[in-house]
């Protein structure tokens, strides 16, 4: 079986927002912003384009609509296929996170770190040590 293409972050978060309950456009925009810690601010033109594409792919479908204070609100929900894709993507990401966590925790003894030794990075008295990434052989 062919490996499914990883979802792009906005798509992943839209599907995640719809995983709990049907939502309308503004609800999805707010939820995606909250899920991404305010980093991803979807605009309606982009959101509805994504919802159309996800509807075409059978991952999302319309649920119901209502009129609130003269404004049309159309709700969308995940389909079973959408739920499966989100589950598979979540599992893929979880495996990646687990693999990275294990590698970070299982750093072999004696490995030199940038700017220091296995016992930890060099620190200057009076300063706070932060994780540093530097290219090997760099100027640092």
């Amino acid at each position: 079986m062919a490996t499914p293409t990883p979802l792009r972050e906005p798509t992943f978060l839209i599907l995640t927002a719809l995983a709990r309950e049907p939502m309308h456009g503004y609800g999805i925009i707010s939820d995606v912003a909250a899920l991404s810690g305010g980093r991803l601010a979807l605009r309606p033109g982009t959101l509805y384009g994504a919802l159309d594409r996800l509807t075409d792919e059978g991952l999302v479908e319309r649920d119901h609509e209502e009129v609130v204070e003269g404004r049309l609100r159309r709700y969308y929900r995940l389909t079973e296929a959408g739920r499966s894709v989100l589950t598979a993507e979540t599992e893929r990401l979880r495996r990646n996170v687990e693999a990275a966590t294990q590698r970070l925790q299982a750093r072999p003894a004696g490995t030199r770190t940038a700017g220091g030794t296995a016992r930890g990075p060099l620190t200057i008295p009076g300063t706070t040590a932060h994780p540093v990434l530097r290219p090997t052989g760099g100027l640092a």
Binding site: E21, M23, H24, G25, Y26, G27, I29, S30, D31, A34, R43, P44, G45, T46, L47, Y48, G49, D52, R53, V68, E69, G70, R71, L72, R73, R74
Partner: protein
């Protein structure tokens, strides 16, 4: 989380009317079906007291409308091709800028029989330095900042000739400026989240061209093959041809994975590439007068290239739309061989 923004705007407010006006970017049937929903969501998201859509909102709606129209034609690959074309266009601009700056602008102005502008032959040096800065921005800054820098580069390209005319200083010729402006226009579609390839290309091309220029100068050993803009048309034509050929190659590779964005990008770049060769083409068709084509001959050739480029794009879109409709009709007409079910999905054209 599912509650709308408490800021309310009356139905039919000036802001709502202005959002609705922007909806004209969408196809008519889509506008009827989704217009209320999209405008309602916009009104939920904006703060109180706003009277005009923000420039970002306007771009979002115009982009959404264009994507929806392309979706109707089954040509979403064209939308995906824009960032690819923009990346290739910027790399080409950086290469051209580095070459013209080193091989022409720093040359002795007496070769071109011009009054020097500081250490440079013409004010064109400002344009090339500008595009090198845009290349640097593409490598180091977020995508949206790079697009702003590209818009600055384009404005600089357009503004330098009239400024040069007003202050009586020499500027680069039209056969260099026109393709530069065309490529600059394409760079406005640079990706919001560029990958490492898109970030690496500008410094890579600048480095390669600088190394080639230095090697070329050393090999010339005092000779001067490129002494003014008049000695560069062949090289510009080659740069345009190489750009399209490379993008086409990438496009064919992606097409093997059912991704036609690269082919659309090659088609988008055909017009700027043609303009890079416009001087050569003009000379071949109309002959030369004083070492190059006349202004009229160049204008006619460049105009023809623009028309042919637009016609090619329109023909490709029409072909794709016809193919899309045929496939869609076949799907809608066919019944499931197991249960006899027919799709009830309505075609959105």
């Amino acid at each position: 989380m599912n509650q709308p923004n408490p800021a309310q705007h009356e139905a039919g407010s000036p802001l709502e009317s202005r959002y609705r006006r922007l909806l004209w970017a969408y196809p008519g049937d889509y506008r009827i079906e989704r217009g209320d929903e999209i405008v309602g969501t916009y009104l939920d998201t904006v703060g109180p007291g706003r009277r005009w859509p923000s420039p970002h909102d306007a771009l979002d709606l115009l982009g959404g409308g264009l994507r929806e129209r392309l979706r109707g034609y089954g040509a979403l690959g064209l939308a995906a091709g824009f960032p690819l074309a923009a990346t290739a266009a910027l790399s080409t601009l950086v290469a051209v800028a580095a070459f013209l700056l080193l091989q022409v602008e720093f040359e002795d102005p007496r070769f071109a029989r011009l009054d020097p502008v500081g250490p440079f032959q013409t004010l064109g040096a400002v344009i090339w330095l500008g595009w090198l800065v845009v290349g640097l921005a593409a490598t180091t800054l977020p995508g949206s900042w790079t697009r702003t820098a590209a818009a600055g580069g384009l404005l600089l390209t357009i503004a330098v000739p009239p400024v040069a005319a007003v202050i009586g200083q020499p500027g680069p010729p039209l056969f260099v400026l026109v393709p530069t402006a065309a490529l600059g226009l394409v760079t406005l579609a640079l990706p919001s989240h560029p990958g490492w390839v898109a970030r690496s290309l500008p410094p890579l091309t600048a480095g390669c061209v600088t190394a080639a220029s230095v090697a070329f100068s050393a090999a010339e050993n005092g000779g001067n093959m490129f002494t003014s803009y008049g000695s560069t048309p062949e090289l510009l034509a080659m740069a345009g041809g190489s750009m399209v050929a490379l993008v086409l190659l990438v496009g064919l590779g992606r097409a093997l994975r059912a991704d036609d964005a690269g082919l659309w990008a090659a088609l988008l770049l055909a017009t700027p590439a043609g303009l890079l060769g416009a001087d050569q083409l003009s000379q071949a068709i109309w002959g030369t007068s004083g070492g190059g084509p006349t202004s009229t001959a160049f204008a006619v050739t460049a105009g023809s290239i623009l028309l042919v480029g637009a016609a090619l794009l329109a023909a490709a879109l029409a072909g794709q739309a016809a193919r899309h409709q045929t496939v869609r009709r076949r799907v809608l007409d066919s019944a499931c061989p197991t249960c006899g079910h027919r799709s009830t999905a309505t075609a959105r054209s």
